[in-house]
Symmetry: C2
Subunit: 206 residues, 2 copies
């Protein structure tokens, strides 16, 4: 008897399918201050406003950041992994990035569906502000999908994925820092795409 | 000032992106009784159980129906329309078809995300039963997506799309029968992909 369930997979973007955007912007612009992450500044709002202020100070506009991001590639093997997964189950990418940033990477990944946030762009092209579409949108999205009777598996690598992994029917880590893997032992740890695909395919076929 | 909203588009599948599956199964198998639709039998459960009984009577199993569907192509122009739309906004296909049927058509459309229903397959390959993932899932999906702070535009062609079009922030008809277009004059009527794309792109960019 084949399974009656309707599996659906939610993937984090940065670290799971693509490089970290801000770290690459910091590297390619040479602005070291842009390397700060939520580990340095736990208040996300302060962190983001700080980043936007730094961009302004350096005269960097949306198109400059887009040019940097346009030069990034998905992680090696990410597209083949994603292509195969999408033939097996609906896949949504849940990320705390912003639509105006993610476009080039989504195109390179074959236009998967991305749920993220947005930016307020001034008429001169400055990034005037950021707008969270929804607080804790990863968890809320998983909750809504479960309410639509999907069996949701969520994959992430970081602290900001833990609420989504906990909310999902199945949570899986992909290349998490040692410390996070130790702290949340309930989630299986995978480190390569074939290994992650094996775990997901077993859940999908269950 | 660029827009701050997060647009998302929900598309019906049959009639909007692909041919009607049951009509084609009726034609290709030569079983006229499979032509019955909700217009002939308004009780969907009776209709579906009748269809499954007919398949059994003719000894048709899942793989036979999949073979018929595997020979179908998306509507002419559908993939180009969808490719362009997916580069502009997240797109979900909301359909009352079944995952085991839709696979080949989804592959030909570039693996968009599909929300639909599922089938119970017996160990001998018979379609033993169907399972609605959720009653009125098109409307419920739109409602859930609005709850996630997306501005949802829904596109459909038929009576069973009206609840989704009504629930969405914007509802648009694509090639509806005259009678339905007359009855629900609140939804703009489009008849070709470039016309539909124009309407959607204006909403997305608003």
């Amino acid at each position: 008897m084949a399974s009656l369930h309707c599996p659906l997979v939610c993937l984090d973007m940065e670290g799971v399918l693509t490089p970290e955007i801000w770290i690459n912007v910091a590297e390619k612009t040479g602005i070291a201050d842009l390397r700060r992450t939520t580990r340095d500044e736990p208040d996300y709002d302060k962190l983001m406003r700080g980043r936007l202020k730094i961009l302004d100070q350096h005269g960097l506009k949306l198109k400059d950041i887009q040019a940097v991001i346009g030069g990034l590639e998905p992680l090696p093997g990410a597209k083949a992994f994603l292509d195969d997964l999408r033939s097996r189950a609906p896949v949504l990418i849940l990320s705390d990035t912003f639509y105006p940033f993610a476009g080039p990477l989504m195109a390179k990944l074959g236009q998967p569906v991305l749920f993220c946030h947005t930016l307020e762009i001034a008429s001169d092209g400055r990034i005037a502000d950021y707008r969270l579409r929804l607080p804790d949108q990863k968890r809320e999205s998983v909750r809504a999908l479960k309410g639509l009777n999907f069996q949701v598996t969520a994959v992430g690598d970081s602290y900001n994925d833990v609420s989504m992994l906990s909310e999902a029917n199945h949570g899986v880590f992909f290349r998490p820092p040692e410390q996070i893997a130790k702290e949340f032992k309930q989630f299986p740890v995978t480190r390569a795409y074939p290994e992650l695909a094996d775990v997901l395919n077993r859940i999908i076929a269950a």
